[in-house]
Symmetry: C2
Subunit: 238 residues, 2 copies
DNA sequence: GAATTGCGATATGTCGAGAAAATGAAGCTG
DNA sequence: CAGCTTCATTTTCTCGACATATCGCAATTC
């Protein structure tokens, strides 16, 4: 009886724990793009031995969040506008297909989840428009759930898995972008319209809106000049 | 496209070597679906220590070719018809989008590559139709290159990366399927028509043909009863 | 004075052994 | 006889230390 609960918490291997913690730290920007990830340093920070750390880094490299060079160690993947466009093309294609399938196949529980996510999202969008400081984490959570809810009924776990991976890769860019071009966008309306079209089962409209939604983020980001060149910059302004 | 030949071999990490060898062995079926991958055993087979092996297995788990369970080791991912359908939905969506973009953006070198790949493919298709025994490897290579050539000009490295991953996952299924339902298909014509439509810049037709092409493989496989249950492990038969 | 080359220092990659966990079987209890 | 507990075996996971490769620096040579 206790075993189950303890397993879920304690039974996690250090390798998995390191993977999750590193992943999160990279996505939120705690480990800036281009930073070299030396094992000794990470060992001190996370209090984990070299083996689990290496395993975590290999997995992250497979995800595309970390670059692994031959015998030259690991670095946080740099942030490059060109690569984001690239990434966005792939993400948009997958999101549209998943959305179309989801609208086609979704039932009551799907609708309910979308409605609930849209409700939260509207609140977060409003909060973000008002004060753009401490909202990020909860806004990102809401945004993630909002889009995840929309495609959740698509019926293909692999489509969802790929989508989730690309979503996470984009999140790093998004966290840089959202602040900068915030004034000129009406995220609340964009999100509301997408949800509305999805519930109304208007797949074409929902897909078009989503495409525009992603494209706006992409164009906003194209103008951003985040210094993600690959040089190891130690600190960034929070 | 590969890097320097000798350095790539000498400077290659054991971890990478193990990854490549295991990956290939799993895809071609040398390590059957459901097989438990015990470290000690692999150590003996590949003459590599536990650490590089574990790193390779973690990466393969990230790819979806291997399942990694908590403290219970690794197993080759089972082959399940339902999952193949799932996989095929994702693959079809991505392939179609990449193909559309590629047809739109491809230039002379792209056309040349497609023509060349189609030429090889026609020969391999003919050979496969004639004698269905030892053709597999070269046929698979041709098939891989054929479809890769078609989408190569899509302009998004991430789209290609995701596509390649799904392609590899499907290859295991394909290797089981192609033989069984071979008689009822005309692969040569299917491939030729796709290439023709692509060169003619008829994106809609090329996408539709590709979708059918994939769907045929999927339906052929749905009837196959490969024992990918995870049952027949390396357990000695009583 | 510039380029090269050899050497030292740092970091990465790999191995073997030990700790933690799971599996399976025997023994005990009701 | 069934179900639970206990214990031994097997396997996985983690750590520390060694071997190997890379990078920076200084000395040497043309």
């Amino acid at each position: 009886m206790q075993t189950r609960e303890k397993e879920a918490l304690d039974g996690e291997t250090l390798s998995e724990a390191a993977y999750k913690r590193l992943r999160r730290d990279i996505i939120i920007g705690a480990r800036p793009p281009g930073e070299r990830l030396r094992i000794e340093k990470l060992k001190a920070i996370y209090a984990i031995g070299p083996t689990p750390l290496r395993e975590a880094l290999q997995k992250l490299a497979q995800d595309g969040l970390v670059l692994s060079e031959g015998n030259r160690g690991f670095t946080v993947a740099p942030l490059d506008p060109a690569e984001f466009n690239d990434l966005n093309v792939a993400r948009t294609a997958i999101e549209k297909e998943a959305l179309r399938l989801s609208i086609q196949r979704g039932g009551d529980v799907w609708e309910a989840r979308v409605v609930a996510a849209a409700y939260i999202m509207s609140k977060e969008d409003a909060a973000l428009a008002a004060a753009r400081d401490s909202v990020t984490d909860s806004w990102e959570r809401a945004n993630t759930e909002f889009h995840a809810a929309l495609v959740s009924a698509c019926g293909s776990n692999w489509l969802l898995r790929v989508r989730a991976g690309l979503h996470d890769l984009c999140e790093r860019y998004r966290r840089v972008s959202v602040y900068q071009k915030l004034g000129s966008r009406d995220l609340a309306t964009e999100h509301a319209e997408i949800a509305e079209a999805a519930i109304a089962r208007d797949a074409d409209r929902a897909c078009n809106l989503t495409e525009q939604h992603f494209a706006l983020t992409a164009s906003a980001l194209a103008e951003s000049d985040f210094s993600g060149d690959g040089r190891h910059l130690d600190r960034r302004t929070a």
